[in-house]
C-alpha cells in the first residue's frame, strides 16, 4: 500500500521546509509583511538599548552632575522612548497579525481544496473513507500542517540577527569563533534526533485523532441505536480506548518535546562555557586577548535567542509534515469521475433510455449485475422487480451515474452517460433514492437545492408528492428548518420531500428507488395517480423507472424487468410475467399467500417454505 508507506516514512526537516515553502509561495505578500515586521521588531529592540544608553549619556549623568536639566532634553527622552516603543508595536502587529493571517489563509486554502475533493471523488472513495476521518483531515490535519507558520516570521527575522553576530564573532577571533560555532552542528544533531523520535509519534497521533473523530461521528450518528439497546457504556469504552491511546502517544511526544526545548536553550550556554575554556588557555598562552574571548562569548549568548526561535519552528515540523502528508493524500487522490463534453440531449418529453449489456461489481471478481439489458421508450414506464439484494439499487445508481459500469453502457437519447458534460445528466434525470436524505435546511432549500424555482413550482411539486398538506401545517411553511437529516419530520414525510425534490426539476427521466416505502397506502395511491396521469407540476410524459414491490405500482408499468441475482431473468408486462414465471408470481403475490398460506394453515415452520429457498439473491 503506497498510502501507508507514505505516512510511515520519517518526517525530515527538509520536508518541513518544503511545507513552509509552499506557504510562502502561496502567500508571499503576507509573509513579507510579517517578516518585515519581525525585522523591525528586532531592530527596534536594539534601538531601545541604544536609547537607554543615549539617555544615560546625555541626560541622566549630566543632569546629576550639573543638578540642572533642560526641558528639551526630557521631551527628547520621552519622544525617543515612545517613538521606539510605538514603532516596535507596529513591528509586533505586523509580525503577529501577518503570521496569523498567513496561517488562517493557508488553512482556508487547504480546507477548500480538501472539501472540493470530497465533492468530486467517486462514491467508491467515500465508502473507503469514514466521515469522521474526512472531518479530521479538514480540521486537525490542516491545522497541523500550517502550525509552523506562527513561529515562522520570528525565526526568519532572527536569522538576520544571527548572521550579524556570527560575522562579528569571526572578526573577533577565528579560532574561538569556530569553537563557538560548534553550537550549530550540535543544534542540527539535536534537531535530527528530535525529528526521528517525534515524527512516528506525531504520525500515530494524527491517525488517532482521525480515529477518535471517526468513532465520535459514527457513534453520534447512530445515537438512537445506542440508546435503544442501552449500549452507552460499550460505546464509551470504544471511544475511551482510542482517546487513551491518543493520550499516551501525546504524552510520549510531549516528553520528547520537553527534552528538545531545554536542550536548544542550553546549547548556546554550553557553547559559551566551551569558548570560555578554550579562551582561557588561549589568553594564558597569549594567543588572544581577554576582550576578544568576552566578545565571542557575548555574541554566542546573543545567538541563543535566534536558535530558540528557530527551535520553536523546528519543533512544529514533525506534526506539520504529518498533517501536510495526510492532507495531500486527499488532495492527490485520483479517481475523479471523468466527464465528456456533450450537453444534455434536448427535448421536452421523456428520454429514450437504453441499458446495454451492463455489468457491475463492487468487489472485483464478484459480479453483481451481469448483462443487464432493457430499453425504455420515451414516456414509458418500466418497473424493476427483484428480491432483496438482487441489485436494484445498484442499477439505479448506475442510471444516475453514481458509479460507472464495468462493462456495457447506458444511453439517454442515444448519448452515453459518460459522454455527458458535468452536471448535464442532472438536467435530464432525477433519482429518488431508497433512503431519503434531507439537508439541514428549510423545506424550500431541500426541494430546490438552490435551483431557481418559484414558490408556486415548489408547491406544485409538493402537491404531486402529497406533501403540501403537512408542509402547509408546518409553523413557517416553506421556511421551516428541518434539522439535520430532516429529524423533525416523520419517515413518510421525509420521503415525500425527497420525492418533491425530484419532481420540481421536471425530469425527463425519473428513477424511483422504492421511494414510497414509508408512505401509507392511501397516500401512495395518490402519488401514483399524479405520476400516471400527470397534473400541475408533474409531467405525465417523463420516462419512468420504478423499483417497486407493490402490485399497484408495478401494474402502472408498461414493462417489468425481473431482476434475480443481478441478471434480468424475464421481461414483459406484469400480466405476462405473472402468467409465465412462478418465481415472479411468488415474489409479488406473497402478501396474498400470507393471507392464505399455500401449505397447511397451521404450518409456521420457515423450513416448510422450501419453495422460497434460493429466492434471496446472491
Amino acid at each position: 500500500m503506497s498510502e501507508s508507506g507514505a505516512t510511515t516514512r520519517a518526517a525530515t526537516t527538509l520536508e518541513g521546509f518544503r511545507v513552509i515553502w509552499v506557504a510562502i509561495k502561496r502567500e508571499p505578500w503576507v509573509f513579507t509583511l510579517s517578516t518585515v515586521g519581525s525585522l523591525l521588531f528586532g531592530a527596534l529592540t536594539v534601538a531601545d538599548a541604544w536609547v537607554l544608553g543615549w539617555s544615560t549619556q546625555h541626560v541622566v549623568l549630566p543632569a546629576f552632575d550639573d543638578g540642572e536639566v533642560g526641558a528639551g532634553m526630557l521631551v527628547a527622552v520621552l519622544a525617543l522612548f515612545l517613538g521606539v516603543a510605538l514603532l516596535r508595536a507596529v513591528g509586533i502587529v505586523a509580525r503577529r497579525l501577518g503570521a496569523g493571517i498567513m496561517q488562517y489563509r493557508m488553512q482556508a486554502h487547504s480546507r477548500r481544496a480538501v472539501t472540493r475533493q470530497y465533492l468530486s471523488l467517486p462514491m467508491e472513495w467515500h465508502q473507503r473513507h469514514p466521515t469522521g476521518e474526512l472531518l479530521s483531515n479538514a480540521n486537525s490535519d490542516v491545522e497541523a500542517a500550517w502550525g509552523p507558520i506562527a513561529p515562522l516570521p520570528m525565526a526568519v527575522g532572527t536569522v538576520a540577527m544571527m548572521v550579524i553576530a556570527v560575522v562579528q564573532m569571526f572578526v573577533a577571533d577565528l579560532v574561538l569563533a569556530v569553537v563557538g560555532l560548534l553550537v550549530f552542528p550540535a543544534v542540527i544533531v539535536a534537531n535530527l534526533a528530535y525529528q526521528r523520535l517525534a515524527s512516528p509519534l506525531m504520525t500515530r497521533a494524527q491517525e488517532l485523532r482521525a480515529e477518535v473523530s471517526e468513532i465520535a461521528h459514527e457513534s453520534f450518528d447512530g445515537a438512537m441505536v445506542v440508546k435503544t439497546l442501552g449500549r452507552e457504556g460499550e460505546e464509551t469504552d470504544r471511544f475511551a480506548a482510542k482517546a487513551r491511546e491518543l493520550r499516551d502517544v501525546n504524552i510520549r511526544a510531549g516528553r520528547i518535546r520537553a527534552a528538545f526545548d531545554p536542550t536548544l536553550a542550553a546549547l548556546p550556554n554550553v557553547g559559551v562555557l566551551v569558548v570560555l575554556a578554550v579562551g582561557v588557555s588561549r589568553v594564558l598562552s597569549g594567543a588572544t586577548v581577554a576582550g576578544d574571548v568576552v566578545t565571542v562569548a557575548y555574541l554566542l549568548t546573543i545567538v541563543s535567542f535566534p536558535i530558540r526561535s528557530i527551535g520553536w519552528l523546528l519543533g512544529e515540523f514533525p506534526r506539520s509534515v504529518v498533517g501536510f502528508r495526510r492532507v495531500s493524500r486527499v488532495i492527490e487522490a485520483t479517481g475523479e469521475i471523468p466527464y465528456g463534453a456533450t450537453p444534455a440531449p434536448a427535448g421536452s418529453r421523456g428520454v429514450r433510455l437504453e441499458v446495454d449489456h451492463l455489468a457491475y461489481s463492487y468487489v472485483p471478481g464478484q459480479r453483481l449485475l451481469d448483462d443487464v439489458e432493457f430499453t425504455v421508450e420515451p414516456g414509458r414506464t418500466v418497473a424493476i422487480v427483484g428480491a432483496t439484494a438482487s441489485g436494484k439499487s445498484t442499477l439505479t445508481a448506475l442510471l444516475a451515474r453514481l458509479v460507472d459500469p464495468d462493462r456495457g453502457r447506458i444511453l439517454v437519447d442515444g448519448v452515453d452517460l459518460r459522454d455527458l458534460d458535468r452536471g448535464q445528466l442532472a438536467e435530464v434525470g432525477a433519482l429518488v433514492p431508497q433512503t431519503a436524505f434531507l439537508f439541514d435546511d428549510d423545506v424550500r432549500g431541500n426541494v430546490t437545492l438552490g435551483a431557481a424555482v418559484s414558490d408556486e413550482q415548489v408547491w406544485a411539486a409538493l402537491r404531486a408528492a402529497q406533501a403540501d398538506g403537512f408542509v402547509a401545517a408546518l409553523p413557517h411553511g416553506l421556511d421551516t428548518k428541518l434539522g439535520e437529516r430532516g429529524t423533525s419530520l416523520s419517515g413518510g414525510q421525509r420521503q415525500r420531500i425527497s420525492l418533491a425534490r425530484a419532481l420540481v426539476r421536471r425530469p425527463r427521466l425519473l428513477v424511483l428507488d422504492d421511494a414510497t416505502s414509508a408512505v401509507d397506502p392511501e397516500v401512495e395511491a395518490r402519488i401514483l395517480a399524479a405520476l400516471r396521469e400527470g397534473q400541475e407540476g408533474v409531467d405525465a410524459g417523463a420516462t419512468l423507472v420504478v423499483v417497486a414491490y407493490r402490485k399497484a405500482t408495478i401494474a402502472l408499468a408498461d414493462e417489468v424487468v425481473h431482476l434475480q441475482d443481478g441478471r434480468v431473468v424475464d421481461r414483459g408486462t406484469h400480466a405476462e410475467l405473472l402468467a409465465r414465471s412462478a418465481s415472479y408470481a411468488r415474489l409479488v403475490n406473497a402478501y396474498e399467500h400470507g393471507e392464505h398460506p399455500p401449505t397447511d394453515p397451521g404450518e409456521r415452520d420457515p423450513e416448510g417454505d422450501d419453495l422460497m429457498a434460493g429466492e434471496v439473491s446472491r
Binding site: S140, A216, V294, D440, H476, E484, D514, H593, V616
Partner: protein
Amino acid sequence: MTTLADPGTVMDSGDDIAALDTIRRGIAVSPELTEGIRGTLALAVVASLGQVIVPIVVQQTLDRGLNGPGGPDVSFTVLMGVGAAVAIAVTSLASYFMTSRLFTTSERGLATLRIKAFRHVHDLPLLTQNTERRGALVSRVTSDVDQVSQFLVFGGLFFIISAGQVLIATIVMVVYSWQLAIVVWVAFAPLFLSLRYFQRKLSAAYGVVRRQMGAMLAAVSEPVVGAAVVRSYAVEDRTQARIDDAIEQFKSASTTAQKYTVVSFSLGGISAGLANAGVIIIGVWLGTHHGSWASDISAGTVLAFAFLVTLFVGPVQMGTQILTDAQNAIAGWRRVIGILETPADLVDPGADGEVLPRGPIDVRFDHVSFSYPGGPPVLHDIDLGIDSGRRVAVVGETGSGKSTVAKLLTRLMDPTHGAVLLDGVDVRRIAQASLRRSVVLVPQEGFLFDDTIAANVRYGRLDATDDEIRASAAELGLGDWLATLPAGLETRVGQRGESLSAGERQLVALLRAHLADPDLLVLDEATSAVDPQLEMRIGRALERLMTGRTSVTIAHRMSTAESADEVVVVDRGRVVQRGPHAELVAQTDSVYAGLHASWVAQQGT
C-alpha cells in the same frame, strides 16, 4: 411539528461561564490536572529562576573572571564556569521534568474530559442530541479539547510564575525607590486597565471561533454523508459554496480574534517605553530638585531602575500573552463543559429504579400527550392498554404519530402529560439497564456500524457466539440469506451499513433485536424495504418467536395488521380504533377500512 430553534442553543449553555469559573469547573471534571501540581510548580520555579540565573552567572564569569581588572582570574573563572555548568544542567533538567509532568497531567485530564463529554452526549435525551449537528458535536470532543492542551502545558502554570515575578520585581523596585515604582505602575496602568476590556473582547471573539469551527465541520460532514444526493442532483457547486462560506467565516472569526490578541499584546511594549521614559524623566527631575522626600535618588538609582523595568516588563508581557492565548483555550473548554452541563433530563433512577421481571410485559399508556419542543401537540390523550403476550399492530397515515408512540414506549422521550407504564410501573421509575434489557425498539431508520455483520448483530447481545447468531438467523428464516453472503457473518457492512442493500440492512437490525431477546419488541417499519416474500417469511417466523413476549409492530403493509392479535389505528395523534383486523375492517367508513381498502386496491391485478 416544529423547527428546532437555532440549532446548538441547548448545548451552548456553557457559553456564559466566566473564564475562571471555566477553569474551576474544568478542573473539577478532570481532577488529574492538579495532580502533583506542587512538585511541578517547584520545578517551574527552578526552571524560571535558572533562566534568569544562567545568563547572570555567565556574565559574571566573563566580566569578573576573564575580563577582570587584574587580568584573567583563572581559578575564579573555573569556579564560576563549573557553577554555570551546574546551573545549566539543573535548569534543563528542571525544565524537562516540569514540561513532561505538565504534558502528562494535561493529556490525562483532557482524555478524561473527552471521554466524559462523549459519554454525556449519549446520556442526553434524543431530542437534545438532535439540536446539534453531528459534525459540530464531533468538534466538541475533538478540536475543542485539543485547544485546551496548549494552554495547559504552556499557559496556566506560567501565568502564576509571571505573576510571581511581577510581584518580586515590584518589591525590589519599591525597595530601590518607591516613587519610581509608582511611576512604573502608572505607566502600566492603561495596560492593566485595558486588559479586562480586551479579555472580554477576546473571550467573545474566540467563542465565535470555536462555534464557527463546529459549524464548519457540520457543513463538511453533511454533504459527505449525503454524497449520493449531492452527486445525483449535481449540486456540487452550491454545496461547495456553502462549505466555502463556512471556511471563510471560520477564517474571518480567527482573524478578528487574532487582531484583538495582537493589539492587546503590543500595548505591553508601549507601556514599557512609557515606563522607561518616565523613570528617567521623573528620576532626573526628582533627583535634581532635591525635594526632602526624594533626596535619596541618585544617578545610580535611576540607571538601576532602568534595568529593573526590564525585569518587570518581561513577565508582564508573558502574562498578557498567556491571558490572550488562554481565551482560545477557555472558549474550547467552555464548549466541552457546555455539553456536560446540558441536563440529561431522562434521569435514570439507577440503583433505586425498579427492575422489570422477565416474561411478557404489559403496556399501558395512561392519558399520554406529547409535543416536540416548541411544537404543537403530536399525541393527544392516548389511553391504551396492551395485555402481556399480545401481538399488536399500529397503523395510521404517515405523520400520524406512530413512531412517536414507539419512542415514548421505549423511553427515548418522556411524555408531556400522562405516563407510560410497563408491567404497571412508570417507565421513568424503571432502571435504564433493566428497561433496555427488556424492551427493544427497531427504529424506522436503521443504523449499522462500520464493522462486520456479526459485530453489528452482537450489539444486541454482547456475549453471543457466531453459532448463536446463526441459530437465531435461522429462527428468523434468514439462514439462507446469510449462507448466500460470500463472507457470511464476516461481511463488512460499510459506513452506516451502506455496503449492504437497504433490505439487508433491515435484516441485520432485526437480527440484532431478536438476538437481544427482549420481552417487549417494538418494530417501527422494520421490514419496509424487504421484499414481500421474505417479509412474509419473517412475519411468520416472528409470529412464532413472539409467543411469550409482547410485540408492537408499526407497518404500512396491511399484511402485518391482518395477522396481528389486535390492531391500533392512530389518526392525527389519537387512537381512533382498536380491535382485531376482522372487526375493524367491517366498520365501514372507518380510518382502518380506508387504509385497508387502498392496500387491497394496490394488491389487486
